[in-house]
């Protein structure tokens, strides 16, 4: 790890190391979890995570 590396370099390295599919899969996976834990309002899902949402201070409750 060189000291004068920049954020741009890191982006470039990541782009050569990962395929577009891998990036898309990672993003989709993350979005799905965020959505399930923070934003889903469907009553059954919502109810069963009730304590977690309160205890973790999730706003979208």
């Amino acid at each position: 790890m060189s000291t004068n590396e920049t954020v741009g370099d890191r982006l470039d390295v990541a782009r050569t190391e990962l395929t577009a599919t891998q990036i898309a899969a990672g993003l989709a996976f993350g979005t799905a979890i965020v959505f399930a834990l923070m934003f889903v309002q469907e009553p059954l899902v919502h109810e069963s995570m009730h304590n977690f949402r309160h205890a973790a201070g999730i706003t979208c409750h």
């Binding site: 590396e5 920049t6 954020v7 370099d9 890191r10 982006l11 390295v13 990541a14 190391e17 990962l18 990672g26 993350g30 979890i33 965020v34 834990l37 934003f39 309002q41 009553p43 059954l44 109810e47 069963s48 995570m49 009730h50 304590n51 977690f52 309160h54 205890a55 973790a56 201070g57 706003t59 979208c60 409750h61």
Partner: protein
């Protein structure tokens, strides 16, 4: 290299997640239920579990969600660290903690200044759609605040480290003051003793901050261990192998 970061981040998230899942099981679930019941006994029926799923299911899913939550934060932390590390000041270990602090400010800290964590049985003054949009906006504001703090620190630290710390704290304090003073009350607690609500919220803040701290700490420990391992006996073997090759 990004895969290595992600692996470490998810492992660190799992460590924090097991701890947080235990916390949910031992403290979060029973406490949430009792606060909820206390409020409901007092009020007839407040917002909350209307009996759609059993309390046991709620407890199990909540503990599992706690684990998943920390794994998610660990993964996001790792990818962000990989990309932003060059822009964050300090040693490798310090950078992790700076980023964990920025993550806490973005995901929880700044949004909570306007939308404080709600104890069970809270009465919301605004509809859910509006609160969601406000949350997303506040999370963006949190990210901007954290970025401003890091940039201000870097500027100030050129002259003196102490000056850097003061400059870095300034954006956070300004945003905290403005949000605290300028935003309306979004939740009321007609049926709760106020110190119970304060204790509940305090626990929420502490445990979420704890998750970030544990993720950064574990990530650093894993990185240290792996680099020691690499620079230890395997290094010489690798060199010997390379030296012996054609």
């Amino acid at each position: 290299m990004i895969a290595e970061y992600l692996r470490r981040g998810v492992a660190a998230g799992a460590v924090a997640g097991v701890a947080y899942g235990l916390y949910m099981t031992l403290v979060g679930n029973p406490l949430s239920s009792s606060v909820e019941h206390a409020a409901r006994d007092h009020a007839g029926n407040a917002h909350g579990s209307g009996g759609l799923v059993s309390e046991m299911t709620t407890a199990a899913v909540s503990a599992g969600s706690g684990l998943l939550w920390a794994v998610l934060l660990g993964g996001v932390f790792a990818v962000a660290l990989y990309l932003l590390e060059p822009a964050i000041p300090g040693s490798a270990a310090v950078r992790s903690y700076v980023l964990a602090g920025a993550g806490f400010l973005t995901v929880s800290g700044v949004p909570w200044l306007a939308l404080p964590p709600a104890a069970p049985g809270a009465v919301h003054q605004y509809p859910i759609g509006l609160r969601m949009r406000a949350y997303v906006g506040l999370a963006v504001l949190g990210a901007i605040t954290a970025t401003a703090a890091v940039l201000a620190y870097k500027r100030g630290a050129r002259r003196h480290v102490g000056l850097g710390i003061v400059a870095g704290a300034a954006p956070i304090l300004v945003i905290a003051a403005v949000l605290t003073l300028a935003t309306p009350t979004v939740t009321t607690y007609p049926n709760h003793p106020m110190d119970l609500v304060a204790a509940y919220q305090g626990l929420t803040v502490l445990t979420q901050a704890g998750i970030w701290l544990l993720i950064a700490g574990t990530f650093n420990a894993l990185r240290r261990r792996e680099s020691e391992y690499r620079n230890g006996p395997t290094r010489t073997t690798d060199d010997a192998l390379v030296g012996g090759g054609p």
